[in-house]
């Protein structure tokens, strides 16, 4: 694995870079062997930037987020690589300093608003706890900050909500509370791990709009983790597509969604149901995610890839830059040696599109 060397250095505006994940590897030693959940992931987020981390269930996106926060339980888990944040490597930071970073500088929103709030503590006391941990304030001030935070995320009647218990709020309200809690300490980076997955569609939009508007107003950088390309299109500027623990394609939203350069991305896009495909069988990517104990030798997507040939079985490609360093794809088709095959990929319609 020589990924880290192959990752094109992103040097433009170095001072701007807030989070620089380099060759992050997280594995879990379990009874049946070792699962490499995150295997050589590198990406950067600029101050105020928005990155979407996309992939299907089990591809390692949540583990990436938890690794950045260093919330991986260490006896079964093991981490390597670097997570540079504000000039420090979070993976080697001592645990007291890490407590300061968590919640204070990097905040996180979780997938399940219904269960992410403690049922026995009031909403107010939970927000105030976060405030007390990271700011020097007295009770009255903390309560005011909490009330303001709730008001900022559009919770009606915040004064009353402070003294309510989570079970008295709806899912959307709870997710707003989670966001209020995350933002109450004005973090530099907000990690949102599938923040809208558990919500229904109308609420999803509201929550995304909210995250986006707060992000724009406060200048907090955003790492949005999702499996929903629609959410990505609406919310972030840059995208990294993950598959089987590694990044397979990066670029701006337009680049990746309009001109996918990795067959996996193309498959993902093709499997979005839409009005135009009415009457056709829903397209899917054939096969399943590889068994973590028996990863393919070569490209991890090769067993499911309609374009695969011997090269893909033999070895795994690095992230290959496409014109500029931030636009990459981990596919042999992008290697200049296989120009002919690439032309076929670019010209032909997606073979993922199922026909009647």
């Amino acid at each position: 694995m020589t990924d880290s060397a192959a990752i094109p250095a992103r040097r433009e505006g170095v001072g701007d870079i807030l989070l620089d994940v380099r060759d992050l590897r997280t594995c879990f030693h379990v009874m049946d062997g070792t699962v490499r959940a995150v295997d050589g992931v590198s990406f950067t987020i600029r101050r105020g930037g928005r990155l979407g981390l996309v992939g299907e269930s089990g591809c390692g996106k949540s583990v990436t987020a938890l690794s950045i926060m260093r919330l991986i339980e260490m006896p079964p888990g093991e981490m390597a690589g670097e997570v540079r944040f504000g000039g420090r490597d979070l993976l080697t930071l001592d645990s007291n300093a890490m407590h300061e970073v968590r919640g204070g500088e990097i905040a996180m929103i979780f997938q399940e608003p219904m269960t992410s709030l403690n049922p026995v503590l009031t909403v107010g006391s939970q927000i105030m706890e976060a405030v007390f941990l990271h700011q020097e304030v007295d009770r009255g001030q903390a309560r005011e900050i909490a009330r303001q935070a709730l008001a900022d995320v559009g919770v009606p009647d915040p004064q009353r909500r402070l003294d309510q218990y989570p079970h008295e709020l709806s899912g959307g309200m709870r997710q707003r509370v989670m966001i209020a809690m995350a933002l109450s300490c004005k973090p530099d980076l907000l990690i949102a791990d599938e923040p809208t997955t558990a919500l229904d569609v109308t609420i999803q939009r509201q929550i995304l709009e909210l995250i986006k508007s707060i992000q724009e107003r406060t200048g907090t950088a955003l790492l949005l983790i999702t499996h929903d390309l629609g959410v990505v299109a609406e919310t972030v500027d840059e995208v990294a597509i993950m598959y089987a623990g590694r990044i397979v394609e990066t670029g701006t939203v337009d680049e990746v969604l309009l001109e996918p350069r990795h067959p996996y991305t193309r498959g993902l896009l093709a499997s979005i149901p839409s009005q135009g495909k009415r009457g056709y069988r829903l397209s899917v990517i054939k096969g399943v995610v590889p068994n973590p104990f028996r990863m393919p030798e070569g490209c991890k997507f090769e067993p499911r890839c309609p374009y695969q040939w011997e090269q893909c079985v033999a070895s795994e490609p690095d992230l290959i830059a496409l014109g500029r360093p931030d636009r990459t794809a981990r596919c042999w088709l992008r290697d200049p040696r296989f120009f002919a095959r690439r032309a076929a990929y670019d010209a032909a319609p997606s073979p993922f599109e199922a026909h009647e």
């Binding site: 407590h99 968590r102 269960t115 049922p119 503590l121």
Partner: protein, 320 residues
Amino acid sequence: MADTVKAHQLATPAEIEELNPEIVGADYDVQLESLSQWQLAWRRFKRHRMAVIGSTLFLTMVAIAIFGPILVPYDFYKAPPPDEIVYAGRPPSIARPFGETGGLQRDVFALVINGVRWSMLIGVLATVISSVIGTIVGGVAGYFGGFLDTVLMRIVDALLALPLLFVILVFTKFLGAGNWFTVMIIFALFGWLGIARLVRSVMLSLREEDYVDAARAAGVSSARIIFRHLLPNSLSPIIVAATLGVAGVIIGEAFVSFLGFGVDIQTPTLGNTLNGALTFISVGNWWWAFFPGMAIVIIVLGINFMGDGLRDALDPRARI
């Protein structure tokens, strides 16, 4: 004509008030009364008839334990003059409702009240201490897991493997020297094992909850997560176990004292009172043993019913 039109119009609030002031007096802004978990639990508890009876019994005994000495205005330690002594004691009468003991002619009513007082004190104190120890050990073991968990739980296993009764007998005999405080401490030091296991098992499942991850992501320390976030969530089984633990200690103390290994005979616990009654049952003095025995039965029964009720009332899955 104007009148008929008016009749078909909707009445204005002022008109309604004129017609029926009470309706308007009611708050129209109907807000669903939001109940905290404790209010919900109280509602469920009230529906549990045995629990209400049990807790009434228990609270009565607690009241007796606290206010008992006021009910007995005379000094029961003082022996009566020799000419009043009847060897077998006197059976219950109007003046002495529970009768008098044989031998020293003490008032059984006063003995029972003081017995309840001492037994309750020992039972409650020992249980409070053992619950605290058990909660800390179980909480730490369950939350951190791994090596710490293994070590702590093997200690618990080892202690549980001891025949507790004999250990307590030996300890009370050689360390206690009859001092009620020492006896209480010994019960406390051996009573936390069950609670530790219980709390550990609850913590093992609670630590996987999403809100624990959320709290950790907010930078909350482990100790704070255990005691502020997880402990309140595991409080209901702890309360139930502790309640039943009081009954256990009271019976245990009575048993140990009855065997003569417990609290000093000068301290009138229920067990000691029963012990004294032993030699006099054969001469027909049943009331000396009966009333303290009944006191134990009522306390324990009350606690058990109350514990059952609490278990149901505090079950968060229960619907009203």
